[in-house]
Amino acid sequence: MNNVNLLKHTDDVNALLARYGVKFGIYKNNEFKEQLFPFDAIPRIIEHDEFSFLERGLKQRVTALNLFLKDIYSDKKIVKDGVVPEDFIFASSGYMVECEGVCPTKGIYSHISGIDLVKGKDGGWYILEDNLRVPSGASYPMIARELCRRSSPGTFNGVRLEDNRNYAKLLRRTMDNVNVGGHTVILTPGRYNAAYFEHSYLAEQTGAHLANGSELIVENDKLYFITADGKHERVGAVYRRISDEYLDPMNFNPQSVIGIPHIYDVFRKGNVALINAPGNGVADDKGIYYFVPKMISYYLGEEPILHNAPTYLPFYEEDMKYVLENFDKLVLKDVAEAGGYGVVFGNSMTKEQKESFMSLLKAEPRRFIAQEVIDFQDLDILEGGEMVPRKADLRAFVLMADEPLVWRSGLTRFSRNPDSFIVNSSQGGGFKDTWVLSQ
């Protein structure tokens, strides 16, 4: 593939991205800063067959995760059958007792799932993390593709490439599938949110209303959108980009000023769809990750197509022994943290740090998981006119509509620091477009 033409346009594309306000906001030292999300023009290319394999595995995984959520908030068969220990559910910060016995429209919990994968040097793909709450990132490769086509149309001539600009259609289909009658709204906390660009872009692309909490109101057990001229119009589905705890000050965190009082009461009665459903955190907890392959066998009776990174749960005695003996070659993760925080590499600690970490581990074994460090493939990025290898992952988007749909693209994030394995955008990484070949 000849990318030379596109590379010449890196600066143009980044300038366009800046002009379109493709930004990423982060809070650092209590201060909100918006920064550009650096784009690298060299696309990640995935062959057709390889992506078809990923697609099958991703559909299988997200189907099982949805069945798990439905089971946890109703019969809890997987716990009663001893497949997942009780502690990993009910002591998890992602478990929400308010969701007990409440079944979302069509039984779908995770409508939009962001599944993070890496490709190992052995050529195999590994799942790093499931994001089932409010995963963000699809808008970046969408707009990047659009802008690349605009600044370098020649690059795309004769390339048999899956068009990724269909994400809006997939999302619309997913939202319409659960809409119980009325408008579809994308609920944003507002411009100070890290992903505000994405909220507004997805609303524009899908034709949904972009609204903040003060533009929605609950009346008579239903949710209404307040139009510019003051009319109240029924809402049937809310793609909410607000985390569970801030969604409804009357049911969750009472301090929330960005939520909608009583929206959860309306949801409980089935009078509005919430996308994604509240309570999903219990399934994307780093501790639960260990059990996902077991869920696939349990609910689907199938062998998992995609593998986890080899993971140990110090909660189990034999795993604890292994972790303590092989501390230096493992990466340890705090199950309650996200966004690349709470991740430490065994070999990067001093003797004192190691000792204090180990005693913490023994005191709170449920709090951590340990994983083998996967030597994942580098991708080339352009830095100062030179190609340099950097660690990168792939966030694949799986949408659960009337059937599971995998978006044939994804967000490829890379670390700009040559020594770092952490690619999260909140840690200053950049992104690439992901090209999936159509044949």
Partner: protein
């Protein structure tokens, strides 16, 4: 068996108009194996539309909003309850046992409560062999010795560990501490809101699962739940079955008053009144 009449009334006066408010009221006792509720009426001033719902703990509630400016808000729930004698047993599902075995929010234990349970185990080596009811009885008796009833030393947001460190508190604190210790010793236990004979405020106690049934304990009074208790609702902690919750725009300074009365209805018998117990 007692036949009781109950009144629960809350009034709020605002110094300036409230332009909009919303509320959730979880103060509606319902029938169960121990109590039969009848003649319930709910009055609200100003008259406000209310929707009925049931939460994940099985608590019935009403909720709604009001956009007509007002400077006074009152609701009054009254009815009759026929309550069973002695301790009560209600079936607990396996699912409930799981949910209420794990401390959450205000019942999360810290070092002091862990230490306290350790001491109970040391002084009573057979503790772990006791049934959940046995454990509940022991913990309740210990708390009666070691925790002092005193108003004003804790608030509604005080957790079990903090209240225990202070050493004194009200029915909410007694109950949180007892649940926390029961969970720590592997038992399923939950927080119950309710009313008790006399005039005062709402009350709170604890239910624990033993052999698939829920049993009621009132640690504030160091007694089993009896026919003087009207059960309203439950949760893992007080916040999950808070009797009322609201948000208002405007209103300025507010003064809130709660009036609760439970009296016995049996003809020919004196109305038992033990005054405020809380």
């Amino acid at each position: 068996m007692k036949k009781l009449h109950f009144d629960y009334c809350m009034e709020i006066r605002y110094s300036t108009d409230v332009s909009w408010c919303c509320y959730t009221i979880k103060c509606i006792p319902k029938d169960d194996e121990r109590q039969k509720i009848s003649n319930i009426t709910i009055d609200m001033i100003p008259e406000t539309r209310a929707e009925w719902a049931t939460d994940s703990h099985g608590n019935r509630y009403i909720y709604g909003s009001n956009e007509i400016p007002h400077s006074y808000f009152k609701y009054h729930i009254k009815g009759d309850a026929e309550c069973g004698c002695g301790s009560y047993e209600t079936a607990a599902s396996q699912t409930e046992e799981m949910i209420y075995r794990h401390s959450h929010g205000l019942t999360l234990p810290g070092e002091k409560l862990r230490e306290y349970l350790k001491n109970i185990r040391v002084s009573m080596p057979s503790f772990d062999e006791e049934s959940p009811r046995g454990k509940a009885g022991i913990i309740m008796a210990r708390l009666h010795e070691d925790f002092v009833y005193e108003k004003g030393s804790t608030g509604v947001e005080t957790g079990a560990e903090e209240a225990f460190s202070i050493g004194k508190g009200v029915c909410q604190d007694f109950s949180h501490i007892m649940i926390s210790l029961l969970n720590l010793s592997g038992c399923s236990a939950r927080y119950v809101t309710g009313l008790i004979i006399g005039e005062g405020k709402s009350h709170a106690w604890v239910e624990v699962v033993d052999s698939g049934k829920w049993y009621g304990y009132d640690p504030t009074n160091n007694s089993l739940v009896c026919d003087s208790h009207i059960r309203i609702g439950c949760g893992r902690d007080a916040t999950e079955c808070q009797i009322n919750r609201g948000i208002m725009h405007g209103g300025g300074q507010q003064t809130q008053e709660v009036y609760v009365n439970v009296s016995e209805l049996t003809p020919g018998q004196n109305i038992v009144s033990r005054g405020a117990l809380f």
